[in-house]
Symmetry: C2
Subunit: 423 residues, 2 copies
Amino acid sequence: MITATILTIGDEILIGQITDTNSAFLARALNKIGIKVIHMASCSDSKSDILGTLKRCLRHSEIVITTGGLGPTKDDITKNVLMTLSLSGKWVRSQKQYNIIKNILQARGIQMLDINRQQAYVPENCTVIPNRIGTAPIMQFHFPKERFGKDNLLFSMPGVPFETEFATEDVIRAIQAHYRLDKIFHRTICTFGIAESVLSKKIESWEDSLPANLHLAYLPNPILGVRLRLSIYGIGEKEGKEELDKYASSLKAILGDAVYGEGETNPQTVAGELLLERDATISTAESCTGGYLAHLLTEIPGSSRYFWGSVVSYDNSVKINTLGVSPNTVKKYGVVSRECVKEMAEGVRKKLGTTYSISTSGIAGPTGATPGKPVGTLWMAASGPKGTVTATIVSKSTRKINIERFAASALDLFRKSLLAGKI
Amino acid sequence: MITATILTIGDEILIGQITDTNSAFLARALNKIGIKVIHMASCSDSKSDILGTLKRCLRHSEIVITTGGLGPTKDDITKNVLMTLSLSGKWVRSQKQYNIIKNILQARGIQMLDINRQQAYVPENCTVIPNRIGTAPIMQFHFPKERFGKDNLLFSMPGVPFETEFATEDVIRAIQAHYRLDKIFHRTICTFGIAESVLSKKIESWEDSLPANLHLAYLPNPILGVRLRLSIYGIGEKEGKEELDKYASSLKAILGDAVYGEGETNPQTVAGELLLERDATISTAESCTGGYLAHLLTEIPGSSRYFWGSVVSYDNSVKINTLGVSPNTVKKYGVVSRECVKEMAEGVRKKLGTTYSISTSGIAGPTGATPGKPVGTLWMAASGPKGTVTATIVSKSTRKINIERFAASALDLFRKSLLAGKI
């Protein structure tokens, strides 16, 4: 099996100023084509440190991907280290990258300086993968087995997450072109609201029936639920996809409406798709989620086509005056109640004139428990032309995670209620 | 200088399922007491891998901190590896951790099983730092110079970020008790709205005046602005603090209202403090921030004392019908305009009956530009009993970062306008 090491370069990582998200992103991309990441590491912007770490990594795994240390300023020295490591005799200019740099600076109204020009120069022994959205090119080096004991590919990528993510596809393609990798095909089924242990019990006999070349991975996420990834090896594309279709279908039949989507999706994306399909609109009425539910819906580009707005009613006066919740309901049942979220959802739907609505009211914590309502209690409702559905959960975590879980749970209630024809 | 390496253990890191936030958190805490983190690494849940990596780390730096691999299930083997590495003869039970485990399980209504009991057992050569909020204890090992060439401390911490963060203070205290560290004192000044390059120009002569034992670090953050950390070494506590006070005061005098706070704060925390001091309330009217501004304000525990609510008016009908923006304004100036955000802020303040209000309207992207209003344009307003202040910025980033910057900028406009007596 071809293995990889991911190395992030930069003092800002080691002092904790930046949380490294590139490594996880790259690891997922490598994992998907059947390459095992065996190590991740971070080192400082020091020549000896980068060089030593790179050599160690190249001896341990075929593929090494570095991110960072490619900026135009003096403290970024990765390229100089690669010049040494690759035994390149001279610097050569990548005309493609040079043109990109020129265009980027022009668009920003900045004059091109020597330090910008230098970004287009690379060690001659490398292959350039142009960075289409940034100034630092991606450099690809090949080291034959004689150098470090393995048929190595080394990629140097920029540190800006946006640029790294954008260029990952090109790097993956270069890896696939170089190594003879086992063909591998995936299907990822996203579930919500079932704990990992319960899920594994539920699909036990299905899992036992899987053929030897079909692998199941549990990918739990504290907010988004458990994703189940099916991977099939050593088979042609057509047959592989057919096999995956077959087992994905039987899996989905067992799990029913706990499955909310496939691949890299999330509850807000699915909610948006359901609304677009129906040419429908939505609004939210939020107490404990404090605007986070609206934020999730609006983080999707184009969400203005279906999301009309939200009334965040943190104070009871807003629930009563703006959403039309009855003061009696508040008095009799409290605001964290089935009755209150029902009136909130129906109130915002009417007020904003949307097809559907979602509401939340709960206790995010860390304090605020009342008798019978522990911290982490959520009441939620989804409402539409056919009626209103309510539900409750208890999330035992931090305030931050409780809020995120509350919002995801409310979106899931909306999806289930809509697909069941209840709202 | 005492150096440290941080090692995260777990397959879930290497497949990219989890983004490691523990390392950055620990690095910041170590950095603050003058310990340099020279490497970070991640390895798999394999005995030989953990053992090999640990030995290498211990030879390179005095302090090694691991996180993860301490769960009760079979795949978590860190503790067994530490048994081998520490040459401990036997397992001993930590009575303190045992009691904590018992209480945690009891609170969750779960019966204590053998795998839970085992979590309280540790190699006899370690010192236990009880994990007060989780079941896996923190283990501290001391290896004299004879073992790995350095006077080593090794800490094994749980992988759950919440637990790691909670226990970090105890680990830092143990490190300070063991090594003779140079005393180091800090002051961190948080600025908003000035680019790093402009900032460094502005404080150039002040920076040149700093004594040799006073170090300035720039800590830029794409959302929260640049924090300036002053650190003073080799001086007593009283004198050190006096020196810091002196230089922090002169720095703040130069930067004026660009300084929004000190230490680990952020614009929403500062806004909350200003409101509590004045016994005042606030509401928001949001278009492009889509609820994110309300979310920031409500992520602070206790925010219900001053945050009344928000109207997220994504659709123009909500701006007009719920916030009372004049249809003429929308027609004449568009919704991304000074006039519109002014009416939004004044509308929500009146409607929700709060002392102050903040509003946003802009183009988060990736599309939506109109003539004269590029993607990333934000108009914002802050309103109060003394009047309404408006402002505009252009943020050139992704949709996600634009939204986050918009919200932080609006909070900053509120702070500045309030302190200037304009609202």
